[in-house]
């Protein structure tokens, strides 16, 4: 059985995970890193907007909102 990679968009509301890596090397990836989603940091998924997208995250003591498409680039490990 292949080991499934978990990305941030799969994480349920209220769960806390740890960022493992950000995929890609374009402006989106750079901005996610600049906003503090760096490897090793703990992220809590606070919730989702009523239509399921975007996500509300808590990282480095502040609240950040990113779309699912962006969250799918954030590979996470269980914290």
């Amino acid at each position: 059985m292949a080991v499934a990679v978990t990305t941030l968009d799969d994480v349920g509301a209220g769960e806390t995970v740890q960022v493992a890596d950000i995929q890609g090397d374009d402006g989106v990836a750079i901005r996610l890193l600049e906003m503090g989603l760096t490897p090793g940091i703990a992220v809590r998924v606070v919730g989702r907007a009523p239509f399921g997208d975007p996500l509300e995250l808590e990282v480095r003591g502040y609240r950040l909102s990113i779309r699912r498409a962006e969250a799918a680039r954030v590979i996470v490990d269980a914290a």
Binding site: G27, V28, A29, R31, L33, I41, L64, S65
Partner: protein, 688 residues
């Protein structure tokens, strides 16, 4: 030029405020400099330039409020401008002598990202820790002395709304201008080989640096639960949050739709009173007509927008100040992203249902350039309040009052709702199509901070509204005035007395001939008799003369000229003429129709116009002009057309380019014509 004189007491000091969005940077700017001395755009880009002045200990200081920036590795025009100004590469802006990094004390890790980058600028630096009071209330204490030592530059805690720390900050600015730049904080080289681009590697190492910088400096006492935490849980709740969102948006919309109405009426009444006094004071003639009907009416047409703009920006500034604006965008994002817009487009588009002008101006809150432009392009498709009188008259007069399915659901109401829906659907389609063709590009990062809840600052809120109103009056107002004067002129000239007399005589003869036509229904003949009798009253004769002037003017002739173009829509030349005359503003169409039908323009709101339109017939076939398909085709045209010079002027001003108003006018006019054509042709075929 500034460089050699740095440190001389006589020289002005240039200080730049650099900071992340939502850090209380505007509040700090207002607290330091008060009302900005200059607000505008950096040349060639739609990035706001805000300058202010203050004096401290006899030293004059120019304060530059840089656009909110997350990083000095810029993405997007706003961040690029900030970096250019700091490097001294922005034309017309001197390189700052001192940089104040505005850092939110409640969100220190991410804010230090920019602060540590700023140590590499080679400019004297001061860090202002804003929202210090809020941090304190949350039980957070920061060892600012140690932080200052580690950063190599002064760190001043400030609570701008309370005025705490402002004097220290100003002292630090002056002191920093005497000293040199801090030693750049070096990032540790990566221990592992990394394939990432430099900016990404830099970001990871910079956060490692920040973790080291902050180690042992922040002490968070047992986090006390604050009222805003409860509010947050309520406002982001799936059900209650959505409900409160609807309530807030309803309040916003009602304020610009209904609250503004009495103020707008007051302005109109004031202009009317003024024009009446001027009309009696000035001798009759071309000058009086120009002053009263041209210039004064034009000024009224500009000032009338002020209440809506002021109210909307007050509202937006309050929402922004308390942190709700970002949450509104968060809640609505999914709905709008499907058609190529973003959550931040919601409030500008909602406001456009009252009026596209404040709506387009509200698009300033959208940082993403592409999303902002697309929002501006489709905002005029929302049915604004100026379309409502047109819909109401035509729905009331020409849509049969029959039930649709249920007895209380009447057809005129359904058609009215349909017009609003049409605008929304077409806007969605246009946004979808444009975002997938012309505006296609690499995916834009949507990373939006949801700032903490706080009280909006009255000074910032008022400044925002004042600035919006002022920039509208100054930048757009003059041009809107010029356009309305030109349209007034082409609808009034050329005039020739013999031609006016001949036109009135011809009207009289035509009425006299038709009033005895036994082939016409009784109601029509009554209307004709009334119209004929009116010609013998002074008011009726004056109205007929005005009609004659309009019919003989450049505009009237243009109406006849475009008749072949509007015939496929089921329109006669008078309708074509009224559509062209409504270029300054859609609501003018009813007034123009009144004049063309020999009624005083004030009759546009009464039933007289309705009766006269119902009696109007084609000269050649004798058939009625206004049938259901024609009424629908007019409504569809006005739902989709860009007949609003003020909107186009504001689009030009907001996008800093005359290309976009031209694009907007063209695409909307084409859509309006096609829509009206399809409606009329379908309606006629179906035998409505």
């Amino acid at each position: 030029m500034e460089q050699p004189s740095r440190g001389t007491d006589l020289e002005r000091l240039t200080v730049a405020l650099l900071g992340n969005p939502n850090t209380g940077k505007s509040t700090l700017f207002t607290a330091l400099a008060g009302i900005p001395t200059r607000v505008g755009n950096y040349p060639g880009v739609t990035v706001e330039e805000k300058l202010g002045r203050l004096t401290h200990r006899g030293r004059a200081i120019d304060l530059i409020d840089l656009p909110g920036t997350y990083s000095l590795a810029p993405q997007g025009p706003d961040e690029r401008v900030a970096v250019d100004v700091l490097r001294g590469g922005q034309a017309g802006v001197p390189r700052p002598d001192v940089v104040i990094v505005v850092a939110d004390a409640t969100n220190l890790q991410r804010n230090l990202f920019l602060a540590t980058q700023a140590t590499e600028l080679g400019l004297p630096l001061v860090v202002a820790l804003t929202l210090f009071d809020i941090g304190r209330r949350r039980g957070r204490s920061i060892d600012t002395c140690e932080l200052s030592r580690r950063l190599g530059c002064p760190v001043i805690p400030v609570a701008a709304p309370l005025g705490e720390g402002l004097a220290d900050l100003k002292d630090a600015m002056l002191a920093a201008s005497e000293g040199g730049p801090p030693t750049p904080l070096a990032l540790e080289p990566s221990r592992i080989a990394d394939h990432r681009p430099a900016a990404a590697r830099d970001a990871i190492r910079r956060y490692a640096l920040i973790d080291r910088l902050l180690a042992g400096i922040i002490r968070d006492d047992a986090v006390r639960r604050l009222p805003e935490d409860r509010i947050d849980r309520l406002l982001t709740h799936r059900f209650w949050g959505t409900l409160s969102f609807a309530a807030v948006m309803l309040a916003l919309f009602s304020s610009i739709f209904w609250l503004a109405a009495p103020l707008m009426d007051l302005i109109s009444a004031g202009i009317d009173a003024l024009s009446e006094r001027l009309a009696t004071a000035l001798p009759p003639g071309a000058v009086r007509d120009l002053v009263v009907d041209g210039v004064l009416a034009g000024i009224g047409g500009v000032v009338v927008f002020v209440p809506q703009i002021a109210l909307l920006f007050l509202f937006i500034a309050i929402l922004e100040g308390c942190g709700y604006l970002a949450r509104a965008a968060y809640l609505m994002d999914r709905l709008l992203v499907g058609v190529g817009l973003s959550g931040k487009s919601f409030i500008p588009l909602l406001s456009s249902f009252a009026c596209a002008i404040p709506g387009i101006m509200a698009a300033r809150t959208i940082e993403n350039r592409r999303d902002r432009l697309l929002t501006i392009l489709v905002a005029p498709l929302m049915s604004c309040s100026a379309r409502l009188p047109v819909y109401l008259l035509l729905c009331g007069a020409f849509v049969p009052d029959v039930a649709v399915g249920i007895s209380w659901l009447r057809l005129p109401a359904v058609v009215l709702a349909g017009m609003y829906a049409l605008g929304v659907l077409v806007a969605a389609a246009v946004a979808w199509a444009v975002s997938r063709t012309i505006f296609r590009g690499p995916p834009q990062p949507f990373v939006m901070e949801l700032p903490g809840w706080r009280w909006p600052q009255a000074a910032v809120v008022l400044e925002r509204a004042r600035e919006a109103v002022w920039s509208f009056l100054k930048n757009a107002g003059t041009l809107i005035l010029a356009v309305s004067v030109v349209v007034w002129a082409v609808s009034t000239y050329p005039q020739s007395e013999p031609r006016i007399a001949a036109d009135v005589a011809a009207e009289r003869a035509s009425l006299a001939a038709r009033v005895t036509d036994a082939g016409l229904p009784e109601a029509d003949r009554e209307e004709l008799a009334e119209e004929l009798a009116a010609l013998d009253t002074p008011a009726g004769l004056e109205a007929a003369r005005r009609g004659a002037i309009q019919r003989g003017s450049i505009l009237g002739r243009a109406g006849r000229f475009v008749e072949p173009l509007v015939r496929p829509l089921g329109w006669d030349w008078k309708l074509g003429c009224a559509a062209i005359a409504s270029f300054p503003a859609r609501e003018v169409v009813l007034g123009t129709l009144s004049v063309l039908y020999n009624l005083p323009p004030e009759e546009a709101e009464g039933t007289a116009l309705e009766r006269r339109l119902k009696a109007a017939r084609w000269a050649d076939t004798g058939k009625r002009v206004f049938t259901l398909p024609v009424a629908l085709s007019i409504m569809v045209f006005f739902a989709l057309c860009a007949q609003c010079a003020s909107t186009l002027v504001v689009i030009g001003r907001e996008t800093q380019s005359w290309l976009w108003p031209v694009v907007t006018f063209t695409y909307m006019t084409v859509l309006a014509w096609l829509g009206a054509f399809a409606t009329y042709q379908f309606g006629t075929r179906l035998g409505w």
